[in-house]
Symmetry: D2
Amino acid sequence: MDFSIPEETQKLVAKVRAFVATHLIPLEPRLAEGFRALTPALNDARSEAKRQGLWAPQIAREQGGMGLDLLSHAMVSEELGRSPLGHYSMNCQAPDPGNMEILHLFGTPEQQAQWLRPLVLGEIRSCFAMTERERPGSNPTWLSTRAVRDGDSWVIDGDKWFCSSADGARFAIVMAVTDPEAPPHLRASQIIVPLETPGFELVRNISVMGDAGSGWMSHAEVALRGCRVPLENLLGGQGAGFAIAQERLGPGRIHHCMRWIGICERSFDLMCARAATREIAPGRALGTRQTVQTWIADSRASIDAARLMVLNAAWQMEKRGARAARIEISTIKYFVANVMQEVLDRALQTHGALGMTDDTVLASFYRHERAARIYDGADEVHKTVVAKRVLRAYGLEIK
Amino acid sequence: MDFSIPEETQKLVAKVRAFVATHLIPLEPRLAEGFRALTPALNDARSEAKRQGLWAPQIAREQGGMGLDLLSHAMVSEELGRSPLGHYSMNCQAPDPGNMEILHLFGTPEQQAQWLRPLVLGEIRSCFAMTERERPGSNPTWLSTRAVRDGDSWVIDGDKWFCSSADGARFAIVMAVTDPEAPPHLRASQIIVPLETPGFELVRNISVMGDAGSGWMSHAEVALRGCRVPLENLLGGQGAGFAIAQERLGPGRIHHCMRWIGICERSFDLMCARAATREIAPGRALGTRQTVQTWIADSRASIDAARLMVLNAAWQMEKRGARAARIEISTIKYFVANVMQEVLDRALQTHGALGMTDDTVLASFYRHERAARIYDGADEVHKTVVAKRVLRAYGLEIK
Amino acid sequence: MDFSIPEETQKLVAKVRAFVATHLIPLEPRLAEGFRALTPALNDARSEAKRQGLWAPQIAREQGGMGLDLLSHAMVSEELGRSPLGHYSMNCQAPDPGNMEILHLFGTPEQQAQWLRPLVLGEIRSCFAMTERERPGSNPTWLSTRAVRDGDSWVIDGDKWFCSSADGARFAIVMAVTDPEAPPHLRASQIIVPLETPGFELVRNISVMGDAGSGWMSHAEVALRGCRVPLENLLGGQGAGFAIAQERLGPGRIHHCMRWIGICERSFDLMCARAATREIAPGRALGTRQTVQTWIADSRASIDAARLMVLNAAWQMEKRGARAARIEISTIKYFVANVMQEVLDRALQTHGALGMTDDTVLASFYRHERAARIYDGADEVHKTVVAKRVLRAYGLEIK
Amino acid sequence: MDFSIPEETQKLVAKVRAFVATHLIPLEPRLAEGFRALTPALNDARSEAKRQGLWAPQIAREQGGMGLDLLSHAMVSEELGRSPLGHYSMNCQAPDPGNMEILHLFGTPEQQAQWLRPLVLGEIRSCFAMTERERPGSNPTWLSTRAVRDGDSWVIDGDKWFCSSADGARFAIVMAVTDPEAPPHLRASQIIVPLETPGFELVRNISVMGDAGSGWMSHAEVALRGCRVPLENLLGGQGAGFAIAQERLGPGRIHHCMRWIGICERSFDLMCARAATREIAPGRALGTRQTVQTWIADSRASIDAARLMVLNAAWQMEKRGARAARIEISTIKYFVANVMQEVLDRALQTHGALGMTDDTVLASFYRHERAARIYDGADEVHKTVVAKRVLRAYGLEIK
């Protein structure tokens, strides 16, 4: 075993950290102005990132990205995670990278020319329409949205929500049932739907934790009513929707988890700085209190554990394949999400009243990242999956 | 011992619950519009409350309130706590009741005529300016704000924050050091400062968890610059500021804790309703999952425990006095705050993505009530206080 | 509501506490010698208890007990719980009081004369044989032991374990299936079996947490092989075994939980005494450390909560009946058991290496009371029961 | 980074696992007979281990050991940890390996010939006498035991306890103050004391969690009264006692933590096997319950995290030195100890009543391994150490 980080990766990580510190963290106090107001400054930051060669880390160099392997990309993702503006600045803000990936893997040359290329260049944005309000996200084979073949078109009807970043996106990849009589995992297909298509309505940006947001920092509710797109907008084969969605989750998990660890480290940093400087009595720092020391020590341990878990999962995935690493890929979901919530909670508490305010980034992390235990499969679902897989080795099959 | 609730109290509680259900909960979906927009509807609700004799429960009947004893008031407070609009609707929204209480106990007849009476009637609102950004709330004897006697005036200079409901209030009660050389607990005084006083500036409504709020649902940062008020605006004696502030906390603790329990019960209710109706597969409710069952069972137990703790503390306070009940009054602070946070977390998780949205009241509770572990003395401070008092009985004095 | 404790009860509690302190706690260092060696001293203590009128608190006065109501008995049980020797000293050590109760409720006059009377007087001991190694305790309707009618006898065959106190008992009450084709809850009956009956074999005292024990402080594995007793040894009706077992649990739950609270208070006492006196540096007590203070404060709060929960459950049971108080009776099981485990863990940790030794009573509590989360229905089972009952009110029936 | 395990190590680990499974686990049911009774069988196992080349993994090949590097040794230690008999069987049962290490590093050639050599060969055993009942283990510079130079002897007086494995040991390494006026860390020295020395009294094997044990599985209380040994029995320099003790802790931490992980894996294994085979209703396995699934999933995640933490700490220690890896070496202490306690608790609960008995190894682990959070520096002490070191980087020095 070798826990060393290659020098090249260390340099890259340092470069990204400097970029985030210099170009993004200073913008954070303006987060409350909304993303429209921030757009010019963010566009400058994106240009600067591109200029520094920091662009689309997950995309091959020949297609305009950095061509990083999974471990390096993971470490970059941690650095970007230190700011809510990180991933967008380097064009790897979800859901775009997931969409790039499946367009890359499953798209026709025409689809890639039309949708993938401008996405990689950052000229357009995209969204992903899978989740439905009336159907549990834990059961992605059970969907209401239907796509029916009509002549040379798909006609789609249904309601979706939590289409992140739909506001301002050029196209959506919509998951819809095309073969209702097929076995559950073969019922749905993925179809590319330009947002300008008649019948595609962005009903609202959902107010999430008090904030409807806008632009890429929003989560839309969407209605599809007789929404008609050409047959060639089908992505991958008919009935392949579920399989493609799974493919989308794999490496995405690694980046998500590393983003969470970036949030942990940023919060840890704020917690320690506060503990070291806040006086609770003249000449006596908050960090002299044993309870705060315990929070720091417990956070240090669990963040380190979380990072090792994710890097190991990435390594296992690259060396042994996603299939063989399924337990690792599931465990990091709930393990890291919970570490993040604990660390955030402690960092906030260490700040007292200030922690409740938007004068630091903690309150934003606290409320928005609560979603980590829910999306991408609720923790409870992943735990069940892991247990079933483990118990199979002991002779118990649970359907 | 007798755990029965008097029939009269049961009737009152049922009446308040019906009022909340009928007149307040339907307004909740409009919370996002901001409190200005809600004001007309809320004013109607307040009129209706008054009409039903539901007004100022903590105030004596002869002064226009309901004259409830502490236990009955506690149970009413739980019912009101089920909605973020509850306490305001019956004119017992913090910080007004605390201010009423100290004006009642320490105010001169003139002060009571000018400030207490219209406050009880709900004609004006008030705020309380104690906390300072640069000084720990855990150490209320260490303040920067100064009030200096100059002729027949107090001249006040300083910076305060988390002056809840200052926006639109008629007056503030300001805690300021008047005797910097006195022993710590005798340095500060409380002074009534009309908000229109020159030199009193409401700098901003602080953005808290993404929301600056307005009106009574806001927390102001305030600057006092040569702010001059008559000497007779001193409340209680000079140097009595800390003692009065303590007095303010006593019964307030009971009501706060019962409000939190109201939040728990509302959340529990939503959690159970969701568990009973949400399908995770056709014909299979979420509530059939053992993890959700465990959340329900653990929440039921801890809410019941919390309520008994608070009612017992209230009873001890009434029968044995606040001094004798100090351990009980401190333990409920952290015990109930943590029960609330756990129950909220489980209720939110049970709702999945919906829990993150403002389509239920849970997300609002989740982010705003995080403050419960911070204000009124951070949990960590109360725990230290309790332990020191306990250890004294074992012969250990900790300064 | 009234949280006061009647003066008479206070006096009784003080008397029991003094008895435990004077006559039992001094015997604890000899616990390791085994119960045979302790018997003479314990017999003296029992005589003294009887002399002081402290005997069989749960039994009516006219039958030789103290005739306490449930709340008073609960408080006595807490005091007795402070020592592992407490309940035995006053003849209310499980399983005897449960057996007394069902003999009292369901026994024939002959059964009462033969078995109940000497039990109440403390002349004999008894045991209860329900649990089977190969069947889950969580499912008391699923038993292997069979009793078959043969002429004027029951002939019993089966294997039982965790027959507490069988070693030295005069008789067992055995739960056996008599009607295998009846509906599950009507299959079993309870039969009185003298231990001297041929075919009743005490296979071993099970080694539990390193200690097989002996006498009443042991848990036996028992084999019944063609074990023949007269038909009149049936307790209650044929098929009533499950119903009687349920009856046995009700008030027993209260006493068990109060015993656990006694253990909590004793442990809390030891923790505080240690914190107040143990020096971690010259002149600096362990109790000055904030972590220890936090343990004390958290323990104080949760023990108080636990006690209020149990007393309320007892009150509800007396006033509204066991059926109406089923949620309360289940919640205290897991709530109190977990409070006890936490408090014990903290008390032990506060003692450092000493906590691991048998030089204090903590290590004995730590290992033996781990069973609290298992017996009388594992916590997980009770939580499911509570949740199902709660969800029924929301329209969800879970079978 | 490279998370692969060298093929050679994998083979070795498999060999050790097979050895433990074949030669040790079958002996476990006899643990209750006491170690005297087990000795012949254990001696056979030790001979077999030696025969297979599995002996003293931490010792250089030329001295009779396996000469493993830290990572390989760590993985072997995990395998041995699966049984309470593991480390003894390969002659690396604490405290012997620690004593071997310091004798190797600091012993004179004569000391090595007399004490180290037979220790490595397994011909004798040793113990370490540092902890004192009246002094906190958290403060190893504060000791009562004195060694005074008298002619060509050291004369030692004092009381020690938790001298593990003193019963039957040939010699003790005793930590005693030789220079009471020196700075705290230079006051003590380590002195080799044969147990046969007059004035060295083994007062008792302390009863720990109900079991005084004997032989190497015991913890002695020791009195030294005018105990006289030659000057040349001093180990390392005078005043070097603390520094040597620190040296002793470094790699020991890795092996201890890996032993704990072995305990975790064994417990996990038992938990899963039980879940897969125990029926809670006819045809329905315990493992179908979501709560048990959650325990399995949480345990899988945290054991994996713990192992990665320890292996990383070992790697950092080898590559960057113990000094640079101090945070890692401290964090694994409390992180792994707590993972172990949680996993054990879940495994025990999964077994129900069986988990309380000594019919599985769990109950023994449960009670004895509770010490993990206490010895080698209580968790609370390590957390403080980590926090202070972290906060130093933020400009706060805490003395």
